[in-house]
Symmetry: C2
Subunit: 160 residues, 2 copies
């Protein structure tokens, strides 16, 4: 999705149009349970003319694929948005929140864990685009620890 | 994922290797709440050398994008598998089941619905590959109706 699509943007996702395209840069992972590290990241927001964006995220660490996540960012009216996500770690989640003036705030409404997944309880995310830089932060409650800073990255748009 | 990846297949996903590649063909949608219809479908299973496959599905109806879903099919040992899925309809789900002799059986372990999603309660899926044809069936419990046949398709491998 997002590759070669010629459909016009659905009017409901116009408030999210600033995200469209491919972004890459560096992120930092921090959590009390692991050693902190940096990663390279690519994020793609695409559309097919429907009232949602397709979202794909991949990271690389030490030249090897690391995390990934995929899903959809739905525009449901009046600045309300819903992020539906699948993680290869066995976690599926829905976050809901708002988009306003190029800033996105999302918070877990539910997290599903497969039988073998880690104990992720809740996630919060913010995205902003300023000066051509997409910045995000992810806060996570997991493995018995309360919601706290987990990930942050700054990504720049990759020319088409 | 699956495009240009040169990593060797993770040994845990060898029982799923028969799915790798791009498949396309026709499916049929049936449910008491809607008029039955046919759709064109493309499914891609890829990998990056980790113990899961990346799964992407898109359908087209009357020349327009229709359904889509994305996620990951995890191999967790002893023929057990876990499917983590995001739908643009506001549904996230985890299905668990088995792979044995080229046949996959999966059943919902949990379904999350966003505030604006339809009332999907449970899904079951089977996949088989026989004679070069990937066939699947999806059964769904939703909108007050019990689990019943919903989707079936037969897809053929698209040459690389």
């Amino acid at each position: 999705m997002g590759c070669g699509v010629t459909a016009p943007l659905h009017p409901d996702v116009e408030p999210l149009a600033f995200l469209l395209g491919t972004w890459s840069g560096e992120g930092r992972c921090e959590h009390p349970t692991i050693e902190h590290f940096a990663y390279d990241e690519t994020v793609v927001f695409g559309h097919v003319g429907k009232p949602f964006l397709a979202y794909t995220q991949r990271t690389v660490r030490n030249g090897m694929p690391a995390h990934a996540e995929v899903g959809y960012l739905r525009a449901v009216g009046a600045g309300r948005i819903e992020l539906v996500l699948a993680h290869p770690t066995g976690v599926a989640e829905i976050e809901e929140g708002t988009v306003e003036d190029g800033r996105i705030e999302l918070r877990s409404m539910g997290v599903l864990r497969s039988s073998t997944a880690k104990d992720v309880v809740a996630l919060e995310r913010s995205f902003t685009v300023e000066g051509g830089v997409l910045s995000y932060e992810v806060r996570m409650a997991a493995v018995g620890l309360p919601l706290q800073h987990h990930l942050a990255a700054e990504l720049r748009r990759v020319p088409e």
